[in-house]
Amino acid sequence: MNIIDDLILHSPALIVAIPLLGAFLTPLISKINDKMRNIFVIFIVLLTSAIVLLLANDIYAVCGKIHTYVFGGSSPVTQGGFAIRILFEVDGLNIFMALIATILAIVGVIYSWAFMKENTGLDKYYTLYLLMIAGMFGMILTGDMFNFFVFLEITSIASCALIAFWTNKGKAVDAGFKYIVVSATGALFILFAIAILYGQYNALNMAVLASKIEFSFLDNIALVVLVSGLAMKAGIVPMHMWLPDAYGRAPASVTLILVGVTQASLYGALRMIFTVYGDSLSTTLNQIGDINIELNLILGIFIVALALLTIFIGVLMALKENNFKRMIAFAAVAEIGYMILAIGAALTTIFSAAETDIGTGAMALKGGIFHILNDALDVGLLFLVAGAVYYATKETSLNRLGGLARNMKYTTIFFLIGLLAVSGMPPMNGFASKLIIYESTYQVNPILSIIAILCSILLLAVFVKVFHSAFLGPKQPKFDDVKEVPKSMLLAMGIIACIIIFIGLFPDIVVNNIVQPAVNAITDNSNYISNVIGGI
């Protein structure tokens, strides 16, 4: 099939360009009528997903294949081995994140149909929604530093405007303002670091930078600024405070995409640390006695400390919280901590000489990356359920909820699935990834896995509290006329629930076919580099 080959050939551009095209056309389409506009938006998202699946099928066919796409030109680099045009470089990690983003986008659009029906300004809502999706795909797929910054800004601005969508609520507007201030500051510092790297090596492409970089003092500063900015965008304690405000006040369908944006920022941090700085991470900084302190050790220990803090504070604040969506947001912070824990444990071990340490690091990375997928699905499902409860009862405080299980049966079942999954109970998917994380971190240091397991138990306690106070209990007279939410919302929640149960029942298929290529893509960046500037 010729057309299919052309689609696969141009797919990295089309995945970003088709949602942009849809966003540009939505104000024109919505002149016709609303139903047409919704159908158009869903069609655009489905088309993008189909292209993503084609590209994924193409990449997973050959082990270690990287799909490089050059904008405007044909050859990625010139004779000197430097890239002048913007490259998209799609390897296992990119396509893994793209699959997550695809699931979230489809579910979010289906969910929005009924959830946002009563609101005004829906054409602009769908425009911004498509722009968020396009920016997320761009952040995930790009191979150019400045292009990453541009898509980061697109995503930040669109999501800020959508967080403050209900402008009659003061808290929502306030949360939007906090979000835009935080993300603008972080993005500006990221641009500062990019400019430092550009001024030193006169390159903006990630692979070219990775090939050129040697660890001078300025690279040190650039690494620190990049990691801090992306960590703030990813919501790591103590820079997590914008996250409960934004997640808690946004419409649930927007919160779903915000989860994906947070994961995309985490992906950016992974890419910067492991690919761009990958060669210089094992440089010995200093020697105390005969043990030499390497950069990856320092960075890994710092990230592990931040991860423990993230898990602990996230869980404790979630226990205390009484607002439905804010509680789930704090739980999401704790979930992010698990990934960071795995990444830090991998950083400490994976560059060492011993073979067993390398195995442990690879296992930790596998668990962390698998947990990115599971966290996106579980937390997304919980947020959708919270939105459904708000849609049915117009009530967010858990103190005034209760006894909803009698009126909203399916929603209760979905919440139960999400509860079990997010708190790592077998046989859901959260258990599989958390098991890998526990075992790998146990070999790094037993204390880490002990704290992680304890916090996971506390997480279960959190959601037992939510389940008891929102769904169980006697039937409240003021909720007598509460009905089950419309079909499309149930369909959206059902899709995620089915994927969760599938991954939970057959985790080995997912780990072997989807997660392992991403781990391989992280652990050796030589393939990524040599794909652009030829063999080194």
Binding site: A17, L20, A23, F24, F71, G72, T78, G80, F82, A83, I84, R85, I86, E118, N119, T120, G121, K124, Y125, T127, L128, L131, A134, G135, G138, F146, N147, V150, F151, E153, I154, I157, A158, C160, A161, L162, A164, F165, T167, N168, I196, G199, Q200, N202, A203, S216, F217, L218, I221
Partner: protein
């Protein structure tokens, strides 16, 4: 001076010191030699007229070499307009 401002001043000073050191370690202003020869920009300057046919190198970079960034930039403006309009929309009831 409250505890918060005290910590703020301390860490602010640390960041300031490191950034100033970094500024002193940059390559001298406007001087390019072999070890930091701007190969990408020199290539663009040399081949702008042949490859894009434009006299203006900046426009050639903006619309041809890094055209996708410009698309993102236009999208950012589009996003801001949509956001401002959606924030000042007329709420029902």
């Amino acid at each position: 001076m409250s505890k918060r401002n005290f910590a703020a001043v301390i860490f602010f000073a640390i960041v300031a010191v490191f950034l100033v050191f970094g500024a002193l370690m940059m390559h001298p202003f406007g001087e390019f030699n072999e070890d930091n020869y701007p190969e990408m920009d020199e290539y663009i300057i040399d081949n702008t007229q042949n490859e894009t046919g434009a006299d203006n190198g900046v426009t050639a970079v903006v619309f041809d070499y890094r055209g996708f960034d410009t698309l993102g930039e236009a999208t950012v403006l589009f996003t801001a307009v949509a956001g401002v309009i959606i924030l000042f929309r007329r709420l029902k009831k």
